[in-house]
Amino acid sequence: MKLKELESCLQQVDTFEEPKILLEQYPTSPHIAARMLYTIHNTFGDIDGKLVADLGCGCGVLSLGASMLDAGLSVGFDIDSDALDIFRRNADEFEISNLDMIQCDLCCLNAEVYARKFDTVIMNPPFGTKHNQGIDMTFLRAGLTMAETAVYSLHKTSTREHIQKKAKDWGVKMEVVAELRYDLPASYKFHKKKSVSPPNTLE
């Protein structure tokens, strides 16, 4: 599937009817979603035939896109019934079957039970209002636990340094894959490989 085709399909996806501000609900634009997924698929090979998790899936733009790019299975996680209802409707309309959904609270999730079960985690997480107590970091941490290979996530450019520091603390390699303009967030890829050896060595 070509990028233009993917973007065109994603433009047909129904989005939030009454977005809940407190959950920071907004749809990932087809423009961003298509480019993000296409890069993950084409450059990194992390979608085709993979088990993909979409954290905070909302109406499912990213999951649907991953399924269209032949993910083995895309699993969307979200807290909101209304969003998942719309997601289910979208899946039925597109007749996509390599898709599943779980309603849960990612802030209360014991991500350990999903540790390394997914090949790839993709997300456009809620951003939260404070860097150091950010819900975006909670989502990121969950994603890193759940992924075997990589986490692809969208974040505000203003939080980049903070995320870089966190990535270092967590021992994961972080790469900025793309920058999107017009008030849109930067997208990151987090490798699962540990990049730094322990700072203290036994003599």
């Binding site: 088990l51 083995g72 998942l84 079957s97 599943d100 309603q103």
Partner: protein, 123 residues
């Protein structure tokens, strides 16, 4: 809810130490055709709790002749992989519930989506 997903779900009700596997009580089950990808199925097998999968498939009436223990060299066994594909990815619980084996708490499944949200007093 596909059985691949079910295989990962646990109950986190406060105080529960082993909320796995969740017992499926299904009122509506569908089988949706999905393209067979042998490599994908083969790679998913090591991630599974095989016993829980067989149990779940049996409870839904779709176990057929899936073995109680994993066969050796399953990676090359296309017939076996096809059976696993069907059970993991094509059988879907649309309506019903998942019961925590320890607390008895039931998590509803509606339109194929399991609701794992806990109430305040359970979290």
């Amino acid at each position: 809810m596909k059985l691949l997903t079910h295989n990962m779900l646990t109950s986190h009700v406060k105080g529960v130490t082993k909320g796995y596997p969740l017992l499926i009580k299904a009122t509506e089950v569908k089988v949706n055709q999905l393209d067979f990808n042998p490599q994908f199925v083969s790679r998913m097998i090591p991630k599974l709790e095989w016993g829980a999968l067989v149990q779940a498939a049996g409870d839904l009436g779709y176990r057929q002749d899936l073995p109680g223990e994993l066969v050796v060299d399953y990676e090359q066994n296309e017939e076996f992989l096809k059976k696993v594909h069907r059970v993991l990815l094509e059988v879907e619980v649309m309506e019903g519930s998942l019961k925590c084996p320890e607390s008895g708490r039931e998590f509803p499944i509606t339109k194929g989506i399991p609701n794992m949200l806990l109430n305040e007093d359970e979290a």
